[in-house]
């Protein structure tokens, strides 16, 4: 069930990238998609248990796999920086194309 929700989020994000006309909306849709991917990693990590992996005296409990979480931390930082970079680009483009319609921008800058 949770997996279905996560995949639905990713799919919705992708459709947003595909169908939205406005460049800012596209970037937001991409953010939705990457949120879905992050959730997928968290879900994979929680496959074996949900406890924080801290070494304690006494019996070990089922802990969450720290590896996918460590990996997705890197991916979050990278995704965030790319999004920031693209928004800066959009701010600059908006001076010439206030509507930010992808199709119009494409027409204008085609050689």
């Amino acid at each position: 069930m949770l997996y279905a929700c996560v995949y639905a989020t990713i799919l919705l994000g992708f459709f947003g990238i595909l169908l939205k006309e406005n460049l800012v909306m596209k970037i937001i849709a991409m953010d939705v998609m990457s949120t879905g991917v992050i959730a997928l990693f968290v879900l994979v990590a929680a496959g074996g248990g949900r406890f924080t992996p801290i070494f304690i005296d006494g019996p070990q409990r089922d802990y969450a796999d720290p590896v996918p979480q460590a990996v997705i931390l890197t991916a979050i930082v990278i995704g965030f920086s790319i999004q920031a970079l693209m928004l800066v680009g959009v701010m600059k483009l908006a001076r010439d194309n206030p509507t930010l319609e992808t199709r119009a921008i494409e027409e204008e800058y085609r050689p």
């Binding site: 991917v37 994979v44 996918p68 890197t74 693209m86 199709r103």
Partner: protein, 492 residues
């Protein structure tokens, strides 16, 4: 060698990020530690490392502690890719030497060089992900360097496509980890089909293969010529290399990679034949040459080296021609000293003997499977046809005294690239057998003939709709369906 590998991989990032801490060009120390000096030094270090790697008897493997499959693997295919990267970067730095680019530009060049190197020695999905994302960001900054709105849009388009592709890639990686608890490439064996399809769709898009690579012509032709040389010479190969390595490590995946290689080789040639803009012809030819690399993964190394050097030389030369329009170039003769490198680069990629392109192409065709041979020979004729567009351009020698000194950077870069093409060729003398020489000459002759009789006389304009931003994203989803079908029906 282990220590050297770690030092070599860390060096570009260390230098790239600390350039801003160094004194400016007006101080003596600043003149020594100038961006271009550092970039050139790093390219030389990489060359030395790649040459050292060739003498290494066994592949060098570095595993991260504990068993998540995070691995660096340096072997002889990586050595070829790293050498390509080093030589092309050195040539681009030499080309930009007199042009007064800011140290920001060289920072990006150094970081790009380092991340491409990292992509060339990693053997697991996560290191590759990080390397590819750093490549996207630095390539974005390099394309947008002229700071015009148009270059910014071209760069954003590139970043958007590649980031969407990388999100698919991450999804696939999560699925592989769920199945095998490892990130190593070998984990693809027995991974769910959808995971393989997702990872491949991303790598095909990053590597500019077949339909998913249609972002490439516009990006590579609209960037400045040194940046185009870098993009076409090495950056796209960072997407191709993991596919080659997967095909070599996991046997089941090799047929998928080979089929995409052959289709891309033919598709790119057809696309390039109808183009009339010099830089677009070169960019479309990259589409086709990348297909060659994938078609025969065993022979990929030398081919990448030959193509990278030749294509970089061509992009740098074309950037200095009076016009980009081939129709205009056909009417007004160019200077002979510009035509010479143009001809040598074209002939090397077409595979003429005495240049490295010949050895690469002959060795590759020798290892091709029977069903591939016909298609690849057809693509070779097509390649010769499209480069005939450059070879048969009119030229006249100019008597201007400053014709050599005016573009010093260009001549230094070309001397490096073309010299390397000659020297490499000497290392593979066993490719020179009577039959192979005759065969290549026949293929090239056929190509030139087709150009003279057919291509020069007809003009055909292909619609460029497929290259629109939205269609590129849509094409990615279609590719995903095709790949899923392929893995599902072939691997089952």
């Amino acid at each position: 060698m282990t220590l050297w590998t770690i030092l070599w991989i860390a060096l570009p990032f260390l230098v790239g990020f600390s350039i801003y801490l160094l004194p400016g060009r007006d101080r003596i120390l600043g003149r020594i530690f100038d961006g271009r000096n550092l970039a050139l030094a790093i390219a030389l270090v990489s060359t030395a490392y790649a040459v050292g790697l060739f003498w290494q008897p066994a592949p060098l493997e570095l595993h991260l502690l504990d068993s998540f499959g995070v691995t660096l693997m340096a072997d002889s295919p990586s050595a070829f890719f790293i050498l390509t990267n080093a030589l092309v970067t050195a040539a681009v730095v030499l080309y930009c030497w007199p042009s007064g680019k800011s140290s920001f530009f060289y920072t990006q060049v150094i970081l790009l060089h380092g991340s491409v190197n990292a992509a060339f020695i990693c053997a697991d999905l996560i290191s590759l992900y990080v390397a590819l994302e750093v490549i996207s960001i630095t390539a974005f900054l390099l394309i947008a360097y002229p700071n015009s709105h148009r270059s910014l849009w071209v760069a954003m388009r590139y970043l958007f496509i590649s980031n969407t592709a990388m999100l698919f890639y991450l999804m696939g990686t999560a699925m592989v980890y769920r199945t095998h608890q490892t990130f190593a490439f070998t984990g693809l064996q027995g991974a769910p089909y959808e995971a393989i399809a997702l990872i491949f769709v991303a790598l095909l898009a990053k590597g500019g293969i077949f339909v998913s690579g249609l972002w490439l012509p516009l990006t590579h032709s609209e960037a400045e010529s040194p940046v185009s040389a870098l993009l076409s010479g090495v950056v796209v190969k960072a997407g191709v290399f993991p596919l080659v390595r997967c095909a070599l490590m996991v046997e089941e995946l090799a047929p998928v990679v080979r089929v995409f290689g052959v289709t891309a080789a033919l598709f790119g040639v057809l696309y390039a034949l109808v183009e009339t803009d010099a830089k677009r012809v070169l960019a479309c030819s990259t589409l086709s040459q990348l297909g060659w690399v994938l078609a025969v993964p065993e022979a990929a190394g030398l081919y990448v080296l030959a193509h990278g050097l030749g294509k970089a030389a061509l992009f740098l030369t074309v950037g200095n021609l009076p016009s980009r329009d081939l129709g205009l170039l056909r009417q007004q003769p160019m200077e002979t000293n510009l035509w010479m490198p143009l001809m040598l680069g074209s002939l090397s990629i077409s595979g003429l003997p005495l240049l490295a392109g010949f050895s690469a192409k002959t060795l590759l065709l020798k290892q091709a499977l029977p069903w591939q041979s016909l298609a690849l020979n057809g693509a070779a004729v097509g390649t010769a046809t499209l480069y005939a567009k450059f070879v048969f351009l009119p030229h006249q020698s100019s008597e201007k005294p400053e014709r050599w000194t005016a573009k010093l950077g260009l001549w230094m870069a070309l001397a490096l690239l073309l010299g390397a093409l000659f020297i490499l060729n000497l290392g593979y003398l066993d490719a020179y057998t009577g039959s192979s020489i005759v065969k290549t000459l026949l293929l090239i002759g056929a190509g030139f003939l087709i150009h003279e009789l057919l291509i020069q006389r007809i003009t055909l304009v292909l619609p460029r709709q497929m290259e629109d931003f939205e269609h590129l994203v849509g094409g990615m989803s279609l590719m995903l369906v095709v790949l899923f079908w392929m893995t599902w029906s072939w691997l089952a």
